[in-house]
C-alpha cells in the first residue's frame, strides 16, 4: 500500500471551480478529467480541528469528542481550548492528547505499513506509544503552553489587545535594551516569568543589530530574521529552549522589533512535541530549522498592526517553503505506507484577505496548483494501485457580522444575568436555561449535568425545539437570515462521545459567524456587530455552506456525495466506521417491491 495525501486547509470548491474554469489551476484541473474531483461533505461544525480529526478518524465528533474549538467544563461552565487539554497528574499539570479514537494513520501502522502525518491538527502532544511519525499542526502550543502571541519591542506606549508589548530602554540614540519575556516556571509565590536581556543597535536607516542570548542578528528593515534559538535559564539545572524569528518593523523615530511567539524547540522540547523524537530531530538536521507553533502564520500580529500585509505574506511564504522542503525530504524516501502533509497557509491568508483582496487569495491557489504540478510529476511513475489524494477540511465564506449569541439567548429569555455583567461569571444559573460557549455550540443548563443545572429531563426536548424554532427565524435588520441551520446533537452525531457534545449545533448563514466573545461565553450588549477586523472571512458557518474538496487519482463520480467519512477508505481502503453505509435496499423504500416484482417476472428471482 502506498498513499500520498496533501491537505490544503480551507481550499474552497467555488474558488477552485471558478479559477479552473479560467484555466488558472491546470494541475488540479487534470483530476476533473477522469472524475477525480468532488466537493467534500464536511462534518458539523466546519472548524479546522474538528474537521481534520473527523477526516482522520472517519467519524463525526460523536466518535472522537472534539466538537468545537472551545469546550466547557459542565460542572463549572469554564471554557477551555478543546485541542489543548491538560490533566493534573503526579508530575503536575501535563498536556494530554485531545482525543484517543483510532485514526487511519494508526490503522495503517496496524496493517504493517509506516505512516506519517505532518502538521495534522490535534496531534499534540505526540503519543510516543503509537507507531506513527508526526509533526503536529494546529493545537501545538508555544513555549509558554499557550496558543501563542508575539512580542512587540517598541519605544512607544502602544496599546495592544493580545500581543505582549515590551518597551525599549534607550542607552543612547542608537542603542536600546529590554527584557524579552519567555516561559514561566512555578515559583514559591506562583508563576514566574523568565526574561532574556535583548539589545538593539541601530546601524543606519534600514538596518540594526539585535543581540539576544548567544545570537547576534543583523536585521534589515521589513525582513524576517532566520529562526533563532534562545535559552531561558529556569534555574541552576534547568534551561528552557525556544525558537522565534525577529522582524525589524520601524526605525523611523519609533524603534520597533517584533518577535514571533516563542515556540517549542524540537530538539529540546519540554513536552512530547513530535513522534518519534528522532523523526523531528532528523528533519531539523536534514532540512534546517522550522517553526513549531500550531498557528505559526501570525494573524494576531497582523490584526494588531504589529506587522504589515506584506510581512505577513512573506512569513506565510517562508513557512510554506520550509514545509515543502520537509515534505520533499520525506517524499524522496517514501516507498510504502501513508504520507500525509497539511499545508495551512491558505487558510490564514483567506481569513485575512478573502473579503477584500481576492488577488492575494488567488495567488495562493495558483501557488498550491504549482506545488501539485511538482508532486504530480513525482507521482506519475506510481502504479495504478497507489493512492493519491488532495483534500480540504472546509471551504470559505464572508464574515461580515459578528453574532453575539448569548445576547440573543438573553433577549429571548433563555439566559439570565444577575447584574450588568457581560461574562459567564454574571450568569444567574438558577434561571438560565441555555448558554453558548464555543463558535457553534449551545448547551442547555441541564440538571444533573451542569454544575447548577435547572432544566429537567422532561423539559429538554421542548426547550430544544423552542430554541431551534426561534433561532432559525432570526433575521437581521435587512431581513437576511442570521442562521442557516440548527442541528440537534442526536441528529448530527453518533458515537460514544455524543453525550459530551453541545445540545444544539449552530450553523450560521453566509456572512455571519459567532463573535470571539461568544466563543468564551460572554454577553456583549448588541445582538450583531459589524466585523471591521482584518480577519474578515471565515468558515465556521453551517457545514452545508462551506464544503471542502477532494481530488483523487481514481474516479469519484459513483460515490455520489463524498464525505469526510469516506477519507479513510479512499486513503487506505478501509472504513474505520462503516455504520453509515446503508445497503441500497434500505434507501429505495417502496420501489424495492416493484423492483423485486420485475425481477421475478423476468425469472431472475
Amino acid at each position: 500500500m502506498k498513499t500520498l495525501i496533501l491537505g490544503f486547509d480551507s481550499f474552497d470548491p467555488a474558488v477552485f471551480e471558478e479559477m479552473a474554469g479560467q484555466n488558472q489551476l491546470p494541475n488540479l484541473e487534470k483530476f476533473t478529467q477522469h472524475g477525480g474531483y468532488s466537493k467534500l461533505e464536511v462534518c458539523s461544525p466546519p472548524q479546522t480541528e474538528v474537521s481534520w480529526t473527523s477526516i482522520a478518524t472517519g467519524t463525526d465528533p460523536g466518535g472522537h469528542g472534539i466538537f468545537d474549538f472551545v469546550h466547557r467544563d459542565p460542572s463549572s461552565y469554564t471554557p477551555y481550548v478543546s485541542i489543548l487539554p491538560m490533566r493534573r497528574g503526579a508530575a503536575g499539570e501535563q498536556f494530554v492528547p485531545p482525543y484517543t479514537s483510532k485514526t487511519f494513520f494508526e490503522e495503517t501502522a496496524d496493517m504493517g505499513y509506516p505512516a506519517t502525518a505532518l502538521w495534522w491538527p490535534a496531534m499534540f502532544p505526540a503519543r510516543p506509544g503509537l507507531p506513527v511519525n508526526t509533526l503536529p499542526g494546529l493545537g501545538t502550543p508555544d513555549i509558554r503552553g499557550q496558543l501563542g502571541v508575539g512580542t512587540l519591542l517598541t519605544t512607544e506606549d502602544e496599546v495592544l489587545k493580545k500581543t505582549t508589548r515590551v518597551k525599549w530602554s534607550s542607552d543612547g540614540k542608537r542603542h536600546f535594551s529590554a527584557s524579552l519575556p519567555g516561559p514561566q516556571t512555578q515559583g514559591r509565590d506562583g508563576p514566574r516569568t523568565i526574561y532574556l536581556p535583548i539589545r538593539l543597535e541601530v546601524i543606519d536607516s534600514t538596518s540594526a543589530r539585535l543581540t539576544v542570548d548567544q545570537s547576534q542578528l543583523d536585521l534589515r528593515l521589513g525582513e524576517w530574521s532566520d529562526i533563532v534559538a534562545l535559552r531561558f535559564k529556569a534555574g541552576l539545572l534547568l534551561t528552557i529552549h525556544a525558537i522565534t524569528r525577529f522582524l525589524l518593523t520601524s526605525l523611523d523615530g519609533r524603534i520597533c522589533v517584533y518577535a514571533l511567539p516563542l515556540q517549542i524547540h524540537p530538539l529540546h522540547s519540554p513536552w512530547h512535541y513530535a513522534s518519534s523524537t528522532s523523526f523531528s530531530k532528523k528533519l531539523w538536521k536534514e532540512v534546517g530549522p522550522y517553526l513549531t507553533l500550531g498557528w505559526p502564520q501570525d494573524t494576531t500580529g497582523l490584526e494588531e498592526g504589529c506587522i504589515t500585509d506584506d510581512q505577513f505574506l512573506d512569513l506565510c511564504q517562508s513557512i510554506f517553503d520550509t514545509r515543502i522542503q520537509i515534505f520533499d525530504c520525506l517524499m524522496k524516501e517514501f516507498r510504502e505506507g501513508v504520507l500525509a502533509a497539511i499545508f495551512d497557509d491558505l487558510d490564514r491568508v483567506q481569513h485575512m484577505f478573502f473579503h477584500n483582496r481576492m488577488d492575494v487569495v488567488q495567488d495562493w491557489y495558483r501557488r498550491l496548483d504549482r506545488f501539485v504540478g511538482e508532486v504530480n510529476s513525482q507521482v506519475a511513475s506510481w502504479t495504478g494501485k497507489d493512492r493519491y489524494l488532495i483534500l480540504s477540511d472546509h471551504g470559505f465564506s464572508q464574515f461580515e457580522k459578528k453574532v453575539h449569541l448569548n445576547r440573543w439567548l438573553l433577549e429571548n429569555g433563555f439566559l439570565s444575568m444577575k447584574n450588568g455583567s457581560n461574562s459567564l461569571d454574571g450568569v444567574d444559573w438558577s434561571k438560565a436555561r441555555a448558554y453558548a460557549i464555543g463558535l457553534n455550540s449551545i448547551y442547555l443548563n441541564i440538571a444533573g449535568r451542569e454544575g447548577q443545572g435547572i432544566v429537567s429531563a422532561d423539559e429538554v426536548e421542548p426547550l430544544l425545539g423552542e430554541i431551534r424554532h426561534k433561532l432559525s427565524n432570526w433575521q437581521d435588520a435587512d431581513q437576511r437570515r442570521v442562521i442557516h441551520k440548527i442541528r440537534l446533537k442526536h441528529e448530527t452525531y453518533s458515537g460514544p462521545y455524543t453525550r459530551f457534545g453541545p445540545d444544539l449545533v449552530v450553523g450560521y448563514a453566509p456572512g455571519y459567524r459567532a463573535s470571539a466573545e461568544t466563543g468564551l461565553g460572554k454577553v456583549p450588549v448588541n445582538l450583531l456587530e459589524p466585523n471591521t477586523d482584518h480577519w474578515g472571512a471565515d468558515h465556521c458557518m453551517d457545514a452545508d455552506l462551506v464544503p471542502g474538496v477532494v481530488f483523487a487519482n481514481r474516479n469519484l463520480r459513483d460515490f455520489g456525495r463524498v464525505s469526510f467519512r469516506d477519507i479513510p477508505f479512499l486513503a487506505i481502503g478501509k472504513y474505520l466506521d462503516p455504520s453509515n453505509i446503508k445497503p441500497p435496499s434500505h434507501s429505495t423504500g417502496e420501489g424495492q417491491k416493484d423492483l423485486e416484482e420485475r425481477l421475478k417476472g423476468l425469472g431472475y428471482l
Partner: protein, 205 residues
Amino acid sequence: MKLFSKPYQTNASNQPVIIVSGLPRSGTSMMMRILAEGGLPVLTDKIRRPDDDNPNGYFELEIVRQLKEGNFSWMNDANGKVVKVISALLEYLPQDHQYKIIFMERHSKETLASQKKMLDHRGQISKLSDEEMEQQFHHHLAALKPWLVRQQNMEVLFVNYNSLMAEPKLCCEKIVEFLDIPLNQSQMLAVPDTQLYRNRISIEE
C-alpha cells in the same frame, strides 16, 4: 453443479470471486460468455436454458437467487471463478470474501425495451409503465452504486454495454487489466455479436 471450465487455473483459494452484475438485460450474459471465452472458469448449472431472449445461454447459477435467504453454500467453490449475480442481490453477498465485480451498464431505454420483450415471451404483464420502471431502476442504481464503491471487499469495474458493442477491444483490455489475469483476448473479442444487439436506440432518445 457442473462447471463450464476453461484452461485458466491458479491457486483459487486466494483469488477473489469474480462477479458479473447489472440490471437484467444489461448484457450480463454476454459478459459471462466473454469471460468464459477468455479462459475463466464459470459457475453455472445451466438450469436456465438458452431461449430467444438469450440464444447463447444465461450462464446462471440457480442457487445464487437464494443469497437474500442466506444460502451461501455455493461460495465455497467460487474463489477465482465467475458467477452472475444481478444487481439487486449484490448487497447480500457474504462479507468474508473478496470480490471483483464487472458491473454492466446499458442505456435504460434499451434495457427496458429488452425486458419488455422478455416479459412478453414469458407471458408476464408489467404493472408499471416504462417511465415508472425507469424511475425505479434509476433509484435502485442511485442507491446501489455509492454503496458498491464503498465496499471494502469489492472492487468494481463499470462496463457500458453500448461502449462494449462499439469498441470491444478497448473494453476487453480494460477488463483484463481490472482482473489482473492473463486471458485470451482474441477469443473474448469474438463474443460481442451485433446481431444480438437488438434493442438499439439512437443516442438522442
